[in-house]
Amino acid sequence: MSSFRENLRLALGTINSNKTRSVLTILGVVIGVTCVILIGSILTGMNRSITQSLEGFGVNNVFVQKMNMGPRNGRPSRSERTRKPISYENYEAVKEGCKVCSQVLLTIYGQTISKASYKSLEMLNPDFQGTYPNFPDVMNMSVRSGRMFTEGENSHSAAVCVIGNDVADTLFPGQDPIGKPVMVNEHTFEVIGVFEKKKQGSVGENSQDTTIAVPYETYRKMFPSNKEHFLAAQSMQGHLDEAVDQVRAALRRSRRDKYDEQDSFGIATAESFIEQFHALTGGVAAVMIVISSIGLLVGGIGVMNIMLVSVTERTREIGIRKAIGAKRHDITLQFLLEAAALTGLGGLIGILAGFMGAGIIKLISPDFPISVPLWGVAAGLIVSVSVGVFFGLWPAMKAARLDPVEALRYE
């Protein structure tokens, strides 16, 4: 019996002596594997980026708003759009009902604010919201200069605000915003603090950096008709699931949801968002796997074709090998290994091309956390070698079954 190493050496020698043909043969495999690696890298990047930006909102928080949260297809249904807003009473019910929540944050938003301005400088579409002093604590933010407003300023409806990093950069380039007035819809607020810039997730800009946060009571006074609330309940460490249950139960009771009806509100955690996005990217991955499978199939048929040609061309060689004692499995192994080495090489080239592609994307958009996943590399290698074994099997068996007398007579 001939050794595996011997056959591998032989296979590489054959590939090397037919360079052009070998390269053309494995092109399909190269492209298939490159696609797998690139798509895997992009999906990994997307998942990371989403995870990063959502974790920025606090992993222990339960978020509540009127509409369902997470990725959706199409417009929300009519019943969803006509839901009652989250009310102040709902907030109090949650505070009362959630025993494992360390604190609950109420935020009011929804007033259309087209711009904020300071002197001639303007900031379009800021995220203007009325909130409580525990906002930075619950939302995982810190105040980098100045301070957060106090409970006293809230109850007195003081005209102060704390602004996000982008707002500060836009309205006060190169100067200290503290103590300066910001105009929002004819109202003037004094800047008393600036939030630290959030760690960037690269899917869109982070809304927390475009925040203009004013005291809750101040907002209510300015826009009394506005009733859109947002709740963030911070659970005690390790009690997130219980917190979700308790918040949901408190809200259903407070909003009088019937026992056989769905929630009349959206409830989510960072984790639940991430899961939903994973499901989404998983679907994209499945589609891409089908597409690259087609590439690999085409590549595999090319390999089979070239191996059949190779067997015919080398009939005499097979005859010689059989005459001097090669058994069927020796010949089978020789041709199988040749096919597998050929496609495996294609896989390696594909993996390299995938790495290069990912590198180029990294250059073009440095914020996107693209990364070649280990499973992609492993899958690329395993699949490409398997394609060679699978499509090389028939030609190899054909070679092994050749009659030595006939094969030696072949011109």
């Binding site: 019996m1 001939s2 050794s3 011997e6 020698g13 054959t14 002596s17 005499r316 060689e317 005859g319 010689i320 090998r321 059989k322 005459a323 001097i324 004692g325 090669a326 058994k327 069927r328 499995h329 020796d330 030595p404 007398v405 030696l408």
Partner: protein, 247 residues
């Protein structure tokens, strides 16, 4: 099915001691459409160890067919064949491959070397197929090349060698596994007469060293080197006699 297996086959009688090749009523029949061609018709021969035999006959007489049977490249349609006390006429493909590797060293008219491999690798090949470790393989292949006086050409490929040198590489390959039988089919057919003489001298030398040699040829001059000539006509043994060289 069952009835076919009940057909009584006489148990073949094994050859006496000292006999290397023994055929008993060997037939090879080819089916060409509706007609049957009997290429070998009831050949019974015995060749002892260290004999030097030529198989002669005109073109189409069945020499090559007989040599394929003796060389275990082909199986007979009928009859029994022993080599080195092994009944090979009943063996399957892989068993035959094992026998070819262990017992037979082939020398072909067209050399049949691997074009892309060096002389050394060509000679090494039979050892690869019986699992000889690499270091031993190379050592023995070099030794074999030395024996045919080609040690300094071991890194050359066949197309960098003359016809005579190529045939010597083939002989080195045939010898490398120390086979029981060296089987040559028209070994000088593709060589000029001077080189042919050199190759035949090499066979003489191998014979002197104790090897058993069977040469298939249609040339009287070549057959003269042997010590016994078996003449084939129409697939049958026509004459079987010692030559002038036999003493």
């Amino acid at each position: 099915m069952a009835t076919a297996n009940l057909e009584i086959k006489p148990t073949p009688v094994p050859p006496p001691a000292g006999v290397l090749i023994h055929t008993d009523d060997l037939w090879k029949t080819y089916q060409m459409g509706s007609t049957e061609i009997h290429a070998v018709q009831g050949v019974s021969i015995s060749i002892r160890r260290n004999e030097y035999v030529a198989i002669m006959g005109p073109s189409g007489s069945g020499k090559s067919t007989l040599m394929n049977l003796i060389g275990c490249l082909d199986t007979p349609s009928k009859g029994a064949y022993w080599i080195n006390n092994r009944l090979v006429s009943e063996m399957n493909d892989d068993e035959l491959a094992y026998i070819r590797n262990k017992e037979i060293g082939f020398v072909f008219q067209t050399f049949n070397l691997l074009a892309r491999a060096t002389a050394l690798h060509n000679v090494e090949l039979p050892l690869i197929y019986n699992g000889t470790p690499a270091d031993k393989r190379i050592e023995r292949a070099k030794e074999s090349l030395r024996l045919v006086d080609l040690a300094e050409r071991m890194d050359h490929r066949p197309n960098e060698l003359s016809g005579g040198q190529r045939q010597r590489v083939a002989i080195a390959r045939a010898l490398v596994n120390s086979p029981s039988l060296i089987l040559a089919d028209e070994p000088t057919g593709n060589l000029d007469s001077k080189t042919g003489v050199e190759i035949m001298a090499l066979f003489d030398e191998l014979h002197r060293q104790g090897n058993t040699i069977v040469v298939v040829t249609h040339e009287h001059d070549i057959a003269e080197y042997a010590h016994r000539v078996i003449q084939i006509r129409d697939g049958k043994v026509f004459k079987d006699e010692p030559t002038a060289r036999a003493k």
